[in-house]
């Protein structure tokens, strides 16, 4: 069964304290690995797409990396406005192409 699992479920950091979020996947026919940000009461917002192992993407304080079995979202010197739920999703090739989401990591940055 195709599965995307994120850890930890929740993470609380102090402002400026760097850390990483993990996304592991067991899917067949992975077309790409996507990261989204979701603020409370809002829909997810696209951040990154990663297609091949070793690929990296950066945006401000966020950097996403991909291996053959997992992806990491590194957050460097976070600010309170980085507080959100971060979702990863596998884009499947088989049949109708669709996104399979993980359960998300709820990130809180304390000032």
């Amino acid at each position: 069964e195709d599965q995307v699992t994120q850890s930890p479920e929740a993470l609380r950091l102090q402002e400026g304290e760097s850390s990483s979020l993990n996304c592991s996947y067991t899917v067949s026919g992975l077309r790409g690995l996507f990261w989204y940000r979701q603020d409370p009461g809002k829909g997810p917002e696209f951040l990154f797409t990663l297609y091949s192992a070793g690929e990296e993407k950066e945006k401000e304080r966020l950097k996403a990396t991909l291996t053959k079995k997992e992806s990491f979202l590194h957050i460097t010197a976070p600010k309170p406005e980085d507080s959100a739920t971060y979702l990863c999703a596998g884009h499947l090739l088989q049949g109708a192409q669709k996104l399979v989401f993980g359960q998300g990591t709820r990130l809180t940055i304390n000032p």
Partner: protein
């Protein structure tokens, strides 16, 4: 550019009642998705349309859920009769093609079933 519009934002109903949600995608986006997001979980795909045709509805509980996109633009998702476990946020998303995982989501419709 206007985003994905959804209504209503909030709805509270009793179990066994019916409810309908409406979505208007980004102009020109041929692919439209309905996702269900239960509190503390990631979104789960219910149905995917390409223009007015269904591409994937494998996870749609067809005994109570229905969706349509008659003119290939806006869409309606209906639940009848609702169960307690249908309490969730219903997210509509659209994309320019069905081959991308870069989706544009609306703010969602939060349903509470009492």
């Amino acid at each position: 550019e206007a985003g994905v519009a959804q209504s209503p934002r909030y709805k509270i109903i009793e179990k066994r009642q019916s409810v309908a949600f409406w979505c208007n995608p980004i102009s020109g986006h041929a692919t439209l998705y309905w996702y269900q997001q239960i509190l503390g979980q990631g979104p789960k795909l219910l149905i995917q349309f390409q223009n007015n045709g269904v591409v994937d509805d494998s996870q749609l509980p067809k005994d109570r859920f229905s969706a349509e996109r008659l003119k290939g633009v806006d869409s309606t998702l209906k639940i009848q009769p609702a169960k307690l476990e249908d309490s969730a946020v219903y997210l509509c998303a659209s994309s320019s093609t069905p081959y991308t995982g870069e989706l544009f989501f609306g703010e969602g419709s939060r349903l509470t079933v009492l």
